[in-house]
């Protein structure tokens, strides 16, 4: 199965990269963008056919390796 894990900084954490990108977008004349946050996408190929079990494994992987729960949130997309 293919899993996509999207990791983003928590809203309560200052994201200076996001601020810099938002300012760069404004410099292009597009001040319609009010916020920007920079995260990361991790794509995993994972064996198994049981969706529930696979999701549980992905939650563990996301919590223990792919994200730092102190400063990041994640969501999992599975196909």
């Amino acid at each position: 199965m293919k899993a996509t894990i999207i990791v983003t900084p928590k809203k309560s954490v200052l994201d200076p990269q996001g601020e810099a990108v938002k300012n760069a977008i404004h410099q292009q004349g597009m001040d319609c963008v009010t916020h920007a946050r920079i995260g990361k996408i991790i794509e995993l190929d994972i064996s198994g056919t049981d969706v529930t079990l696979t999701r549980q494994k992905l939650e563990k992987i996301a919590l223990e390796v792919l994200s730092n729960p102190v400063i990041e949130d994640f969501r999992i997309e599975l196909e």
């Binding site: 309560s12 954490v13 200076p16 990269q17 390796v65 730092n68 102190v70 400063i71």
Partner: protein, 228 residues
């Protein structure tokens, strides 16, 4: 004391740490490779600065999963001394031995310069040799050294007197201007509740010999050794 200096792939301050311990402080000290889990009965463990695993994923995120870290966590739980410097501090936070996290510097710049820090608590195994509120001049060199913790964690570490060093001005004032990276409450270094694990972003091993122009960093290790 017996000291283990851990080496991760990408650590680059390990030699300076070993030199400080062996040549300056005349301690028994040796390297431990990250794949080894035998700390050889070390009394003290140093996680040095650098760019372990190239800072891939997050600083210290992959290093925390190295086999040696199981032994480091066990040693910390047994009350052994653990000192994490810069990337080492990042590894300690990632592994849960210290609360909070280190994030990208607020101004997005890699800050590489001398930095003044104030000693906030001298009643610890890491700071007993310093005068209360002493101002130390130590080098910093980091792009992701901004200490972050949520409000309840910040309140807890303040109440438990776990904040050991804060960025400060020449007069010893805690100001925004003297904060090089946007760290919460100008926090530069903290310890755990048991008081045996220290993490700090500045580099004491680079200010530990008069030939380097400053010896302000020596006190941390002298405090540990004298208290052992």
């Amino acid at each position: 004391m017996r000291w283990a200096v851990v080496q991760f792939p990408g650590s680059n301050c390990d030699q300076d740490c070993l030199y400080l311990l062996q040549e300056v402080l005349k301690q028994e000290a040796y390297y431990v490779w990250h794949k080894d889990s035998d700390l050889k009965n070390a009394d003290g463990i140093v996680l040095p600065g650098g760019f372990s695993y190239g800072d891939y994923l997050r600083c210290g995120a992959i290093a925390k999963l190295s086999p040696v870290m199981k032994s480091v966590v066990q040693a910390a739980n047994e009350g052994k001394i653990v000192v994490g410097i810069c990337n080492g501090f990042q590894v300690l936070c990632e592994s849960g031995l210290l609360p909070g996290a280190l994030i990208r510097n607020k101004n997005l710049k890699f800050r590489c310069h001398q930095q003044l820090i104030r000693v906030e608590n001298t009643k610890t195994r890491f700071t007993s040799k310093y005068e209360s509120q002493a101002v130390l001049n130590l080098p910093i060199a980091h792009g992701e050294g901004s200490y972050f913790a949520d409000p309840s964690t910040l309140k807890s570490i303040a109440q438990n007197k776990q904040i050991l060093f804060r960025y400060c001005s020449e007069e010893g004032s805690i100001t925004d201007f003297s904060n090089p990276n946007g760290a919460c409450e100008n926090i530069a270094g903290i310890c755990n509740t048991k008081g045996n694990v220290l993490g700090l972003m500045p580099h004491p091993e680079r200010a530990a010999e008069s030939a380097l122009g400053c010896v302000d960093g020596l006190g941390i290790f002298q405090s540990i050794i004298n208290g052992s």
